[in-house]
């Protein structure tokens, strides 16, 4: 599989930014607390049941019921609630002006990504892979084109739903460079399981380079059998390749598809061989995806298409 050896790239227990880190601390504190309380209650139950029948409790029943059932939970839960409410608010504070603004629109079963300028206008589009600069807050504006999905990169933040007819927001920040895997967390239909994406946290200079590259139209070879196949077999009616074809919205933007690690929203590694598989038998690999399989194309055309796409860095 494409993702072998990726242990920990999609884990809430390996936080890589302040947002996920704050939740991680709550997790640790609550887990320890829960284990201690669990052990105490269970010991009490076992003692009460298996003690020598003549050993009666020294505490009154009222103290037991009121103390254990009312006072103790009220004290512990009030403290926990205060922490939780404060943290809930803190995690939702809108970031400052230096924040990177990215719009993600979910589709069955892929992610349409747009980088926004300061006026909220899209500067360019990409799909299924999101680069962010290390150390800067990022605000995601989230929506859906069909059913409800949920945006979740556990190493960086908690999740928020993406709802048709509504706009939701998520703030996060990465403190160390790396690859972080995200996945749709709201059941969204047949291929909910294969709706992943990648967040690539880059140091500021590399991020600037990446941004510069993505903004450019495709540097596609002009005389290429694959380019002609792309135009001739209708690929361009769903996929945009800026500089090659008109804007199309139904499928992922492929202008710089070769710069991405995966294809099919985390389904396959992005290699020419896998691209052939994806184009020719995608419906077998990911049944329920919108794109039909192009198995009727001959091997040469498929390989040319894959080669062409692999040039789009």
């Amino acid at each position: 599989m494409a993702l072998a050896g990726c242990e920990g790239i999609q884990s809430a227990l390996d936080p890589a930014g302040p947002n996920a880190d704050a939740i991680y601390r709550v997790t640790v504190v609550m887990t320890v607390g829960a284990v201690v309380i669990f052990a105490l209650v269970l010991l009490l139950v076992l003692y009460a049941t298996y003690r020598h029948p003549d050993r009666r409790p020294a505490v009154s029943t009222r103290l037991l019921i009121v103390g254990g059932g009312v006072v103790f939970p009220v004290v512990v839960l009030s403290a926990l609630l205060a922490w939780g409410v404060w943290l809930t608010g803190a995690l939702r504070v809108p970031p400052g002006n230096d924040a990177v603004r990215i719009e993600v629109v979910a589709n069955m079963f892929w992610w349409d990504v747009r980088y926004l300028d300061e006026h909220g206008q899209a500067r360019f589009a990409t799909a299924n892979e999101i680069a962010i600069p290390v150390g800067r807050p990022v605000e995601f504006t989230l929506g859906s084109r069909d059913v409800i999905h949920s945006f979740w990169v556990p190493n960086l933040a908690g999740k928020i739903d993406m709802i048709p007819g509504r706009v939701t927001r998520l703030r996060l920040q990465a403190d160390r460079p790396g690859l972080y895997r995200g996945q749709c967390a709201e059941f969204c239909g047949p291929q909910h399981a294969r709706m992943a994406f990648l967040v690539v946290a880059l140091p500021e200079p590399q991020y600037a380079e990446w941004l510069e590259n993505q903004r450019e139209p495709a540097r596609a070879p002009l005389q290429h059998q694959g380019r002609e196949a792309f135009l001739a077999h209708g690929c361009a009616s769903c996929h945009t390749v800026r500089g090659v074809s008109q804007a199309a919205l139904l499928g992922p933007d492929l202008t710089h598809v070769a710069s991405r690690a995966w294809i099919g929203a985390g389904t396959l590694a992005n290699t020419p061989e896998q691209l052939v598989t994806w184009i020719a038998e995608g419906e077998r690999v990911k049944p329920g995806r919108a794109m039909p399989s192009f198995g009727h194309l001959d091997r040469e055309t498929l390989e040319a298409l894959a080669a062409f796409l692999s040039e789009l860095r």
Binding site: V26, M30, R56, G68, K159
Partner: protein, 812 residues
């Protein structure tokens, strides 16, 4: 002359053979529920094993995406709607009358009808598998995924119709149980002497009455949207998919406690028995049960923390979610106190209660964790939540259920229990369960979402999933061992003596296996644990020393007592075995199948036939025309028969149904107001220029009909109601109301349609009352029920009118 078994049995028993389908006796119906519920448990378990097998290792291809999605959808649906709730209802139907000293549930035909609705609803749902179109949208059926554009096949229709059909049985069961608990307790059993199991069922039944209607309404709206295109949940036409989530969880969270409270009641019954001590903190536990009932309606949004809810609401629901820990904590510590002060004898049922403590307390603690909003943002929709909910539900329900099955088995079978088999079952299930679900907490935190049919290897999920699958099969082996144990004990065990556990509650005051009429005479009690106070009570009631112990026995008689005082008030003549409930449920089935097939002529035929069955049901009352109006109930009490009393059990039952009805209409009003709050303009420009005058006149006429009914002028009242309905319909039609064009007009259309159905029912009841009078019935019950329903119907449109016509008028 005193009654004996030979006198009572022919009158009360369920006949053998095919005629057993006419049985209405609560012992028969309760056992049917339990057996059917257990069968669904096995079906749900097989689905679980299929899912666990698929997830054993990354990239497994045992199931494809469609099969896996169908498996988890059906697993959740079957376990919640067709196992947990019905089997607990079955337990209650079987036990509550015996525990309160009654001879039967107070509406026997309703129990039989409810059972058939449940069975047919389950068959309807499962038939989707045969037709190859099972629902695949999850047991929560979120819109818009379940709407027609994204799921054009019939899967969601099977789900919506099957579940709604079965929910009729839950509401019917709840009404039945509340009425029986209020009016059927033996003399002396005041509320403060009621067994805790009965308290738990009373609270649960009220929760069903208020919690199921939001889902029924939500399902009706979704089915209407799918079938006729009315856009309640369609964001493009003014609806909102989040409305479904609110309606679903408004039901869904109380549902968790609807499942847990009866189980807690079982624990509160078993612990005192084996601790040889009356329950300590009885009043605390009662308060805790009631508090849980109320609080559970304030928690639903904690299933929606990731939906972008305002901070104030998040904090409120987070606080409420934590507050519900307190009543649960009170119960846990009351159980501990009882064990600690008693002399516990660890027999099989108590072993399962120990398992319950272990699993449920852990589930409660992870529940506190997910109640904390930021943590939930990580854990939500991951395997952590799968682990949490199974700890709560399996721990909070299945362990007490197994404890209860072993505890009450001697009552059903009359056989003694061997401890060895049940302990083996316990250890298999206990170890298997924890092996399955304890690692799953971690699986979720290291990133594995729920409801994925496949996952990539190397994510750190492989070993955890493998362990869970092994544990799953161990649990399944435990359930298999339970069935074997049951069969062996049924075959080889020796006869049990009455009251084998030396329990204190009334169900053990009868011989085992229990007779169909429960009690030869209905005793008077003076204590919470009457058998501990008077161990001879069982023998005495069998010697017919108490109420209604006379012979000859001509009909099914049962004492009706004051809701609070528990003093004898009336004698109810209960109906005997009849085919009517079966046919009423079958005709309802015709309706549901018609809707499913979108052949609406069949649906209408089903409704007409069902209405006929209900009329026959209401007409054919056991007391008949003329005859006596009161009777000697024994111990010097001369009591009126129930049909001569205005506040008869039937009146109480109707009142409880109307609570459910109000919850249904209230949910529709909630939908209207919710869509208003999320909509930029409501009504949208150009809608409902209906004016105020015509609807106001219609309302006034309807109000007048209430006066007419109060004056017993049923014909006049019916005429007025029809006139009001025509006027209001005209007013809406004249405004050009197009239900399919916008969510606003769709909701207004529904508000009026539901009201029109109520008017039709009220008119039918008025004509029925007239016809009864003409046929010579001299009774107080039927007119009282008609008046009650009528006034409710008028009040309901008062609310509907305010929402449809007054609010926009005032807001503008």
């Amino acid at each position: 002359m005193r009654a004996r078994h030979e006198d009572l049995e022919p009158v009360w028993r369920t006949p053998p053979g095919i005629a057993a389908l006419t049985g209405v006796n609560h012992t028969t119906v309760g056992l049917r529920y339990v057996v059917t519920g257990f069968a669904f448990f096995l079906i749900g378990g097989v689905l679980a094993m299929l899912m666990r097998s698929q997830l054993t290792f990354a990239g497994n291809t045992l199931l494809d995406h469609h099969q896996y999605n169908a498996a988890f959808t059906l697993h959740g649906t079957v376990m919640m709607f067709f196992f947990a709730v019905p089997i607990l209802l079955g337990f209650s139907a079987y036990l509550v009358p015996k525990m309160v000293g009654a001879r039967d549930l107070i509406f026997p035909r309703l129990s039989a009808f409810g059972y058939f609705c449940y069975l047919f609803g389950g068959l309807l749902l499962m038939s989707s598998v045969v037709y190859g179109e099972p629902p695949t949208g999850g047991w929560f059926m979120y819109t818009p995924l379940s709407s027609r554009p994204f799921t054009p096949d019939s899967g969601p229709d099977f789900w919506l119709l099957g579940v709604t059909f079965a929910e009729i049985s839950a509401v019917a069961g709840a009404v039945e149980l509340i009425a029986t608990i209020f009016k059927g307790r033996v003399p002396g059993m005041t509320l403060a002497r009621m067994p805790l199991f009965v308290w738990a069922i009373l609270v649960t039944a009220f929760m069903i009455v208020f919690a199921f209607p939001p889902l029924i309404l939500g399902s009706i709206l979704l089915e209407v949207e799918r079938a006729f295109g009315l856009p309640f949940y369609d964001a493009a036409r003014g609806g909102d998919p989040i409305l479904w989530q609110h309606l679903f969880w408004l039901f869904g969270h109380p549902e968790v406690y609807i499942i847990f409270l009866p189980a807690a009641g079982i624990v509160s019954t078993i612990i005192p028995t084996f601790a040889r001590l009356p329950m300590i903190g009885y009043r605390w536990v009662v308060v805790a049960l009631v508090a849980t009932g109320f609080l559970s309606f304030g928690l639903w949004v904690h299933h929606m923390y990731a939906v972008d809810i305002p901070l104030v609401s998040l904090s409120f629901f987070s606080a409420a979610s934590m507050a519900v820990v307190i009543p649960t904590g009170i119960q846990v510590f009351a159980w501990i106190a009882t064990l600690w002060h008693g002399r516990p004898e660890v027999r099989a049922p108590l072993v399962f209660v120990m398992g319950f403590f272990f699993v449920f307390v852990l589930g409660g603690l992870t529940g506190v964790m997910v109640a904390l909003v930021p943590f939930d943002w990580q854990a939500h929709d991951t395997h952590f939540v799968v682990a949490h909910l199974h700890y709560v539900l399996f721990g909070g329900m299945v362990f007490p259920l197994l404890a209860g099955l072993y505890y009450w088995l001697p009552l059903v079978s009359g056989k003694r229990l061997s401890d060895f088999g049940s302990r083996l079952v316990f250890w298999l299930v206990f170890v298997g369960f924890n092996l399955t679900f304890l690692p799953m907490h971690l699986t979720g935190l290291v990133g594995m979402p729920r409801r994925v049919y496949t996952y990539a290897d190397g994510m750190g999920w492989d070993l955890l999933n493998f362990i869970s699958t092994v544990g799953g099969f161990l649990t399944a082996a435990g359930i298999g061992a339970f069935l074997v144990d049951l069969a062996l004990q049924g075959r080889f065990s020796r006869r049990a003596r009455p009251n084998p556990w030396n329990a204190g509650t009334l169900e053990w005051a009868m011989p085992s296996p229990v007779p169909s009429y429960n009690f030869v005479s209905q005793p008077r009690v003076e204590d919470r644990d009457p058998l501990w106070r008077d161990p001879e009570l069982g023998a005495r009631q069998q010697r017919a020393e108490f109420y209604l112990g006379h012979a000859p026995v001509k009909r099914r008689e049962m004492l009706v007592t004051g809701a609070l005082s528990a003093e004898p008030e009336q004698v109810a003549i209960l109906p005997g075995n009849t085919w009517v409930p079966l046919f009423a449920a079958l005709f309802m089935g015709v309706f549901f199948v018609g809707v499913l097939a979108q052949v609406y002529a069949i649906a209408i035929l089903g409704i007409v036939l069902a209405a006929g069955a209900f009329l026959a049901w209401a007409w054919k009352t056991p007391e008949g025309v003329g005859g006596e109006r009161d009777m000697d109930a024994g111990l010097g009490a001369r009591l009126p028969l129930h049909h001569t009393v205005a506040r008869s059990p039937g009146w109480w039952g109707t009142a409880i149904v109307l609570f459910a009805d109000a919850a249904l209409y209230g949910s529709l009003i909630y939908a209207h107001l919710f869509l208003w709050t999320v909509s930029p303009s409501w009504p949208p420009p150009g809608y409902l220029d209906v004016g105020f005058a015509l609807p106001a006149v219609a309302l006034a006429i309807l109000a007048l009909s209430s006066v007419a009914v109060q004056w017993r002028q049923y014909g006049l009242a019916a005429a007025l109601a029809v006139a009001a309905a025509v006027l209001q319909s005209y007013a809406l039609a004249a405004s050009g109301l197009a239900p399919g064009s916008h969510a606003y007009s769709a909701v207004v259309f529904m508000l009026w349609t539901v009201q029109a159905v109520h008017i039709a029912i009220a008119v039918a009841m008025a004509l029925f009352t007239l016809r009864r009078r003409a046929a010579g019935y001299d009774e107080a019950q039927v007119p009282a029920v008609t008046r009650l329903f009528w006034h409710y119907m008028v009040a309901q449109w008062g609310a509907g009118f305010a929402v449809v016509h007054l609010f926009p008028f005032v807001a503008a």
